[in-house]
Symmetry: D2
Subunit: 403 residues, 4 copies
């Protein structure tokens, strides 16, 4: 590859920002068991401390997504102060994730619940999340609704859409010009028969009606078997409606494994469509500042049930980077020429050449130039952080969902 | 059930129109083998003769969908004459189905092909189909595109959407006020990596841009495993964008088995959402006349690879009727009350009560009142038609896809 | 149907025994939230009290499966006393379910764990379960292993099979002549990459090596999408290796919904294969007494996350009965004749005739003749039990997994 | 990597034999359309000519599997002569594939058909295939049965197993000491409701009863979504029952795309289990000679519907080689140490290190040392073969299934 192209690839890789989720630093599990780990954060500030390690070793993960109420505890209710704490650590607070699925009132749903009192309660929480965004300076309100039904007939599928639309509209009106609403979809779980936002089409249709500040969030683990995720990515980018990724990987359902762990080729294909759709252009600052622009947020959304959290997140960041690097290495001119010629094998070969390239040395260089570590996993292991948090974080309760 | 309610259910059942597809009367098969059956139609007129038998025995299947070019041969190119022939048999010509997947030029696609000459050829065919609709008086142009790719990189996913949109727009402009474009989606097959209209979201997004005459067609066999089809139906009806069904059933992929054969409970749930969305209201004439109204076409789209065609179609019509009858029997007031109360088991029980009802006697009455047969399968078996067509349809070639 | 046939069907239905699981009476949930219900049992004896209600209303559910350690608490460690308590309530203790997945030691597995100390611990628990069986008089040890891995490379797939085989062999040796080991399989969850007993083939292969007292347990929710469960049932019955069912239903993954709620046609097909394979023959006592005989246990294994537990279990028992009744109504002679003749539509029609029959009146008669209630759901609702347990079971902690 | 290790890896790669299927050189398609390609072979000898090109460029594909009757035509019925022809080209005839699915008699099955006359006909064909094996010196009879049913009730699932077992037993008895029977399984297609050998468990159970000369064939495209194929591979190798692979890749159903095209990481994991199970040990000759030994045949089974056949096969051979090379590069000691320590991330990292390595230079060296081409795709493109066959193979009919 010509030297100037290498430089451009490096520039793009350096400007990528991968947002880590505060909850991935805490315990999580399956319905069968949460295996608690020693040293997990007890407060949101400790989560930020861990996130700062990930950023130190990788250089591309300075943003941390919050989850309310998991990240609201005691003094931390002062989100302006929390933003300062983050800034002191070289971090920035990212998307605010609402939670309307873990209170007893939500047994049959939140914003789509048949009872207007429950809907009101849920909407109040969403509004509060926007208040928090005002304090943190966050751009994105990320909405995932566990709403749905377990049994045919349990509730009126269509009426639930009406209720959902009403709540979304109210939240949308509350957003400032620079803020966005990012609506996640999910095939199933925890609802087992019908889910109120089960696929990208539903999220897209709602976002379209809401307006330009509403975007779709693609969680890579939330699709039916056989779904071509990169098609969805390409389609949404073409429509200007892709807002964010929740990266993770899955073999079966919503396994929430480390991004790139189950199907690195798929992650590469997704990142290639992001590149092809312009999602890697501009500087990090330009993309972050975009309200109505094309800015796509690259978030992780994972559960590290059996592996240690911090290095698992480092590994995930690296996996996203490797996929991105390979996507950037695709020779688009050669690809376009083969596509125009209907040369199936050559076109496929051009893509595979990029995928088969070992990009680890390139990324080591990128990290070094960013002042991070060539080998983040080794650097973290050598840092003593893992031992320190086990030693120091004794007592208290871990803050998070998988308590 | 009160007598007046029974009367209303019967009225709705009598006004249902189930459209049978001309191709289901001919041979079909898998990629491994087409097992030819004796007596299958050699011409579109013979297909109409068979369809007239289905109508005679069931009383609710007077409409026949055409497939071009399979239904264009010799004298049959005069579609006005063909419409007369149908009318003489008590039939009406229904949706015109375009075919842009069986010529060598379409190896890499039709309207989304990288070569503009191929796209032009495909578009010409679509335009010709509208000409045929003008002659037959058909309301719906049904579009299914086999377009897609087999290998990552083979073509540009996004550029293919641009090409597709351009062709759809051109066809849309050609439609008269009373005509509609109905866009089918399909997860996969014959394309194995990416499909250009893979899901309802894609079809919906295109139809929305096209305008009110464009609608989504839901083929019940075209979804990923685990997809909640009745949700899609409810959603599209709420948006006024459900145009038609292609009914069939599947255990695995697009098996094209008889409707209701694989999962009769699912077919019932679908028909319940149709009812809940207003899709069973009005007279048959009102629904057929609707251009921009809510008219949903109930078509079959099946392949009878190993079973005799005519009785398989009769059985399918009956299966759709049974699901419809059960859907009409749901006690909507009791259901709504239980839903409002959050009484999961009662709400589910109300739905199941309707499903568990044996509606065969009711449908026998409906058929008798329509002047058809109480037991269509037995009546057909006794009619001698099966033996007659084997005896008489000797020589020639069957007209259709599975030749 | 001739009267003597109706009598035979009734006799078979009266002799069916549906085993309810103690844990289904307690709280359960998803990884996101357990919605606690008022009135759930705090002790295993309270679970038996609830089970006695199910039996009282249905007449065919006198057996209750235990789960160790969930059903071991305080005085209840005396399982001989517990069996007496059950007998006093008209119940019998059924399968003993081992639990080697909820202690911290089992994070990376139990009997297949790389560490021999963990394997020992797990094996000790299995042995203890056999001790409990000796006390309760239970025939079946039901083994489900959550063992597996989340990431490729995490452990040696083959070595894990060696370890598993070793543990199974040790337990098998411990069984008395009248006892059986029933090995469950599951596609995934909680392990997300590989599972050590993922499918019936694996369970079958192990059981075959173990010997005649080892059987496969088919949990209807534990299969990959598209799996034909009734084929597995037929195959295992042909091999004499079907030991038990865990009935529940699912739309997506292991949803653990009420049996028959998601696909009643599938449940009917399964029960038809059970009938065809001889699984409904003999008296209940004969089947229960069978060690090496063909006795198949019909257990429920469900989680009632949002619906009240007791009526949900009653409904599930009824659903299994309805499927069984329809299976018994299949006209096997007519079916065999059509099959021999290769008459696809008639053969399918014979099966569908039975499925489309409304068997609720027949089952009401069966229940009445058994001294139970014609309408168990209504009888339970009228009984005041639901209100009584809410009133009386105050304080304490519910005993179970979803605490 | 130490130099001696590199040498060992190269030795293993040089001894690998990838068997190409005669039918992949001919036309194929979907049920919708077969797109004929110019220059495809009209005779089995022309197929061998093409195969010789694949071998010339890759150096590891000297074996060609036959399909009867597709490869029986005119003079080619003399299979001894055909074997000589192959030998002259530097090739060897491999597995003989029976075909009992493309005659009209087989509409409702072959060896499991309800009619004994059809079963007899099918069995005769299988016996004839063994005769052909005697002539060609082939070791493996590969059996894939399209047998199954499309509709519930259509035939007796259990009786079909009895018939299948009877036929398998008869064929098994006919095999010589050095011959093997390799039984393929497939989830579905062309049968859509039940398939008589739908999964590895069924194939395994039959093979176990037959004896040591019967083995399971794993077609990588024949599984339900979410199936962990490498688990099956590891399990069968542990049992000594893995006979062969049919390599291809799929995104959805049985897409029959080029091996490694859809999920190269999966192919790597499969090859790693082959290595771990001893399947890559010994010389090519040793493995080929094995009757009852561990010899696993690495066959391709693909359909090149839209891409040119010969280079698609070359690419597939290379993809299998790349996966094999990466599998051989896994540091087994480091892996085992991490596994023993329960170090999830390190163990996964060891595996990923091998996968992320660019093995193309290593394979170029291997090919050069074998006397083949460093870049087989480029060498084939430059060879003029593609143009020559188009020029020369004019007239006649292509020999194969997708005619």
């Amino acid at each position: 590859m010509p030297e100037q192209d290498v430089a451009a690839v490096k520039t793009a890789l350096k400007s990528q920002r991968i947002e880590t989720p505060s909850w991935a630093y805490g315990n999580s599990g399956t319905r069968f068991k949460v295996f608690a780990q020693a040293g997990v954060p007890r407060t949101v500030r400790e989560k930020l401390d861990d996130a700062a390690r990930v950023q130190r070793h990788t250089g591309v993960a300075p943003v941390v997504a919050l989850h309310i109420p998991w990240d609201r505890a005691g003094a931390d209710d002062d989100f302006t102060a929390l933003a300062s704490y983050a800034a002191d650590k070289g971090l920035r607070l990212g998307a605010v994730n609402a939670n309307v699925f873990q209170e007893d009132a939500y047994k049959l749903g939140s914003v789509a619940h048949p009872d207007p009192a429950v809907r009101r309660k849920a909407l109040d929480h969403l509004m509060e999340c926007v208040d928090i965004m005002d304090a943190t300076g966050s751009r994105d309100l990320k909405l995932w609704f566990a709403d749905g039904t377990n049994y045919p007939g349990q509730d009126d599928i269509r009426a639930r859409q009406d209720r959902l639309a009403e709540a979304l509209s109210a939240v949308y009106e509350r957003l400032s010009e620079k803020q966005r609403l990012v609506l996640e979809y999910k095939l199933f779980e925890p609802a087992f028969y019908s889910t109120d936002v089960p696929d990208w089409g539903t999220s897209y249709a709602h976002c379209l009606k809401l307006g330009p500040k509403a975007r779709v969030c693609v969680d890579t683990g939330h699709h039916a078997p056989g779904t071509n995720i990169e098609f969805i990515v390409a389609f949404l980018l073409r429509e200007g409606k892709l807002g964010a990724f929740d990266f993770n990987s899955r073999f079966y359902a919503d396994d929430d494994l480390m991004a790139g762990a189950a199907d690195p080729f798929q992650l590469f294909r997704i990142m290639y469509e992001v590149r092809a759709g312009g999602g890697l252009e501009g500087t990090a600052e330009e993309r972050a500042a975009e309200g109505e622009g094309p800015g796509v947020a690259f978030m992780l959304d994972q559960c590290h049930n059996i592996e240690p959290k911090v290095p698992a997140i480092i590994r995930s960041v690296m996996n996203v980077q490797e996929a991105t690097a390979k996507a950037l290495l695709v020779d688009r001119e050669a690809l376009a020429a083969a596509q125009r010629a209907g040369d199936v094998l050559t076109a496929n070969g051009v893509l595979m050449d990029a995928f088969n390239t070992d990009v680890r040395p390139l990324l080591a260089d990128v990290r070094e130039e960013l002042g991070a570590d060539r080998d983040p996993m080794a650097a973290y292991a050598a840092s003593g952080w893992a031992e320190a948090i086990v030693r120091e974080r004794v007592g208290g309760e871990q803050a998070g969902w998988g308590a």
